[in-house]
């Protein structure tokens, strides 16, 4: 019992320490910038009240958590297959636009539930389609998916802006930026009082399904095998290229779905605005997944934490005037500190279990991972044999 408690403390302790470090450094920035060392306390006070102070604050936090839970999951799925989906922001945008277009163009022609289903499906299809080119170039040409997806993000930004500004623009105008007409089917609210809708249920269900599937199905087994040991997966007859394509398409579909639940759910939207790209849910999803160490279960608390910080930041800047961008700094420090933790831990563990290096190491051990030093093997942390870590002169 005591050991179990200790293990739990160990599991939670280090992310918690990382969070404290990040908040401390963020507070330092606030204090130094405002030349007032009480300012961080005021700011953080407003942040936490704004995020979790009452039930309405909680509702705002959950609404904020919903899309980044989906984008975080999207990135985690790709990571499981050894790919880094930095294109989630673009896939989110095209997914949102597809959902909006189906939602207003086919509105009235179809019954609302069917329209809603179609709208969400269109978003997933669009997100997956947007993810296809990077992964295709990856498996056929060896082009790094991070670079191609970044380039495609710009294409998504400009394309969605153009479509929302010109062909799909609401002719009746209104709003500060051009936007599409209002969608005619929306995700129902969970409660009439709070601004939380079915998107949250969808996001949590998707997370549970993906997490279970990765562990228990043939699909998940093959995906993880490719992500964690591509060479062995290939030699075992697993079709690596196909597995990677499937994982990346699912990742894109989830990011597209995130765009859809924002557009057809949340109050400020229900229309696709021309400047939707850059809402940041996609990039936050990257951070959420990295903080979760690529584990889909850990995406749940990780997204919630980012939801708290995000929703709280709005309240903080509104109430005490501290710019909300400080939260991005806290998030950045958080993911870096957590990553440093993962690696230190891995090394300690491999030290305990490593075989004595007296047995001649394979050449492959000596050159560990030189063939697959992609983003993504990196994101889960490399591990090295005790022998080589000892051999490195300090």
């Amino acid at each position: 019992m005591k050991r179990r408690l200790l293990r739990l403390a160990d599991m939670l302790g280090q992310p918690l320490a990382a969070l404290l470090i990040a908040l401390f450094l963020g507070g330092l920035v606030i204090g130094l910038a405002q030349r007032d060392m009480t300012a961080p306390f005021t700011a953080y006070g407003a942040l936490f009240t704004g995020a979790v102070g009452d039930s309405f604050a909680w509702a705002g936090t959950l609404a904020r958590t919903m899309p980044i839970l989906l984008t975080g999951l999207a990135v985690a799925v790709a990571l499981a297959a050894g790919l880094f989906n930095i294109g989630a922001e673009g896939q989110l945008a095209v997914g949102g636009l597809a959902a909006a277009w189906v939602g207003f163009a086919l509105g009235g022609l179809l019954p609302a539930p069917l329209l809603l289903m179609l709208s969400l499906s269109a978003a997933m299809a669009a997100g997956a389609a947007w993810a296809f080119l990077p992964v295709l170039l990856k498996v056929t040409r060896g082009a790094h998916e991070v670079i191609t997806a970044i380039l495609l993000n710009y294409v998504a930004q400009n394309t969605t802006r153009y479509l929302a500004t010109v062909p799909l623009k609401d002719p009746s105008g209104g709003g500060a930026v051009p936007q599409t007409p209002e969608v005619l089917a929306v995700l129902p609210r969970l409660s009439p009082t709070y601004d939380v809708h079915w998107g949250l249920i969808i996001a949590v269900l998707a997370t549970v399904c993906v997490a279970l599937a990765l562990r228990r199905t043939v699909w998940g087994y093959e995906t993880r095998a490719v992500g964690e040991g591509m060479g062995a997966a290939e030699a075992a007859g697993i079709r690596v290229a196909r597995v990677q394509i499937n994982a990346f398409l699912l990742s894109g579909a989830l990011a597209g779905l995130a765009g859809a639940v924002v557009i057809v759910g949340a109050a400020p939207f229900r229309r696709f605005p021309a400047d939707f790209y850059g809402a940041g849910y996609g990039f936050e999803g990257l951070a959420v997944a990295l903080l979760a160490g690529g584990s889909p279960w850990a995406v749940l608390p990780s997204a919630l934490l980012f939801g708290v910080l995000g929703a709280g930041a709005e309240a903080m800047s509104f109430q005490v005037g501290t710019p909300k961008q400080i939260v991005a700094v806290v998030q950045a420090i958080l993911i870096i500190t957590v990553a440093a933790r993962i690696v230190v831990r891995r090394r300690a563990r491999s030290g305990n279990t490593a075989t004595p290096p007296a047995a001649t190491p394979l050449p492959a051990e000596a050159q560990a991972s030189s063939t697959a030093p992609t983003a993504t093997t990196a994101a889960t942390g490399e591990e090295r044999s005790f022998a080589s870590s000892e051999a490195a002169p300090s």
């Binding site: 228990r216 993880r224 095998a225 062995a232 030699a235 007296a358 190491p361």
Partner: protein, 532 residues
């Protein structure tokens, strides 16, 4: 140029220091790798360090070279105790080491590799390539290690790469040269050249220490020998006062000697070959015709190879490293695409088959690179044991759900059958020792009773007991009637296992010999292109 290049004439390099290791102990976790070991190296001698895999030979050499800090004990060089363990300090004191796995930079030239870290001229200054190449050429000439200083290392043979490694050490004025299993990857004639070079070095006053487990090399090329067993020094003696039998006894332990020599991979024909030749000659199981494979950059690595593999035989492939044997096996396993040629498995044309289809058609595969080809290291042992069979209905449902209970049962059955130690469900494969990892791979690959078993360097890096286990398993497959194709860089292993021996050189099969005709001398000549 004289001023900027370290002087290379042996006589101007100063005296060789004497080397003493006193009471060296090193532990890795709970395992003692070295236990109170002493070693003395007199200047101008050749000293062999022998022992089974895992005896602590490499660890001892790493301590001497400053790569490992001993838990206790002292390294005394030229009478001075070495205070800080680092290769840099060891190099400064005239110690050089050639690792078993070369530490070279493939896209760099020979001269660049040699001078790296001790370049002529200033660090920020222009690198004088001509001067570097001239210096390396002069050094190569003097030390009898012929090399083209302007060649890229990635284009060199393994033997030439080894010469580059030795030149690297000599360029840094090494007077004590450590060679870690220097002949493991060499053909016999290349090994002879290496021994000649070491003889010249010791005549010029340098000390040469080499690790080996080949006793004939010890007797022929060392002045003194130290035997390690399980981390302890069990014998130190001048060569003239010892014999192969004494050394073997010391290496393996008195009581175990008799048993071990019986199953030890020494070049004698396998006892059961006569029986199986009759039984297995029934039909060709695997037939390869005119197989040609190109690297990505376009050069031919497997050149017009034709082979027939019968059931109930082990066909061994001998060859120096890089002769195309690894690529041949990868191509048969479906991991490389052939340029030309035809592969037939039991009458079925499998050229267009994917890896999975080949496995289903009856090919089993034990890859050379255990950590990257055979196992998913972070996966649990049960996830690994079912890898490649996970789509079978036995282990997953039609709906695509893994049958976790069945898989765990399968693991327990297989782990028991193959004596995989530590393979309790949930253990990640990376936590197993190398030998147990290989047993796990065999347990999986043999579970489907393959018609053809492909094995690439199946005992690489394994200790004696695990190697013997692997050899027995391969022989059992042969006796079951499987067609077994084994490639190994260790000629002794090929000879110990094979019913027939194919020799590869520069991508071609240059000869296929019956085991009775396959003498070490004959195959050695063929491996290097010296035979006809």
């Amino acid at each position: 140029m004289a001023g900027i290049i370290p002087a290379m004439r042996p006589d101007s390099r100063g005296a060789t220091p004497s080397v003493s290791l006193r009471g060296i102990s090193v532990a890795f976790g709970p395992v003692a790798a070295l236990d109170n070991v002493d070693l003395d190296l007199a200047p101008g001698t050749r000293h062999a360090v022998v022992g089974e895999n895992g005896a602590g030979k490499s660890t001892l050499m790493k301590v001497l070279f400053g790569l490992l800090r001993p838990d206790s004990g002292q390294v005394i060089i030229g009478g001075q105790p070495l205070r800080f363990a680092s290769p840099r300090a060891a190099i400064a004191l005239g110690i050089g080491m050639v690792h078993q796995h070369f530490e070279l930079i493939p896209p760099f030239t020979v001269a660049e590799n040699v001078v790296l870290g001790a370049e002529p001229g200033a660090i920020g200054g222009v690198l004088d390539r001509k001067a570097a190449e001239a210096a390396v050429a002069a050094l190569a000439q003097e030390s009898g290690l012929p090399i083209d200083p302007a060649a890229r290392v990635e284009d060199l043979s393994v033997a030439a790469q080894q010469r580059v490694e030795i030149l690297k050490a000599l360029y840094r004025r090494a007077r004590v040269l450590i060679l870690d299993e220097p002949t493991a990857v060499l053909a016999p004639s290349e090994a002879r050249d290496l021994w000649a070079a070491t003889a010249r070095l010791s005549e010029a006053g340098s000390t040469v220490v080499f690790i080996t487990h080949k006793l004939d090399e010890v007797i022929a090329h060392a002045d003194t020998v130290t035997v390690l067993r399980r981390g302890r020094r069990v014998l130190s003696s001048p060569i003239v006062e010892t014999s192969p039998a004494k050394l073997a006894a010391a290496m393996i332990g008195e009581s175990a000697t008799a048993a071990a020599t019986a199953s030890r991979p020494i070049p004698t024909p396998p006892s059961s070959s006569a029986a199986t030749e009759g039984k297995g000659s029934s039909a060709g199981v695997l037939s390869v015709r005119g197989l040609t494979v190109r690297e990505r950059r376009g050069e031919v690595v497997v050149d017009n190879v034709s082979l027939d593999l019968r059931g109930g035989e082990i066909l061994g492939i001998a060859g120096v490293d890089g002769s195309g044997q690894g690529e041949l096996i990868e191509t048969l396993a479906g991991l490389r695409t052939a340029d030309k040629g035809k592969i037939t498995l039991m009458g079925q044309d499998i050229d267009a088959f994917s890896v999975a289809q080949r496995r289903a058609a009856g090919i089993g595969y034990v890859p050379e690179d255990r950590h990257h080809r055979a196992l998913v290291l972070p996966f649990s042992v049960e996830e690994n044991v079912v890898l490649g069979r996970h789509r079978e209905r036995l282990y997953s449902s039609k709906a695509g759900l893994l049958k976790r209970g069945t898989i765990t049962g399968f693991l327990q059955e297989r782990a028991a059958a193959f004596d995989v130690r530590g393979a309790t469900p949930g253990t990640p494969a990376r936590a197993l020792s190398g030998g147990n990892q290989q047993k796990l791979v065999l347990a999986r690959e043999l579970s489907r009773k393959p018609a053809v078993l492909l094995a690439s360097q199946p005992t690489r890096g394994l200790d004696f007991a695990a190697s013997a286990f692997v050899h027995d398993a391969l022989r059992a497959e042969r006796d079951r009637g499987a067609a077994v194709l084994v490639q190994s860089l260790d000629l002794a292993e090929v000879l110990a296992l094979s019913d027939r021996v194919a020799v590869m050189l520069r991508g071609k099969v240059v000869a296929v010999l019956k085991r009775a005709e396959a003498t070490e001398a004959k195959i050695g000549a063929l491996m290097t292109g010296a035979g006809t």
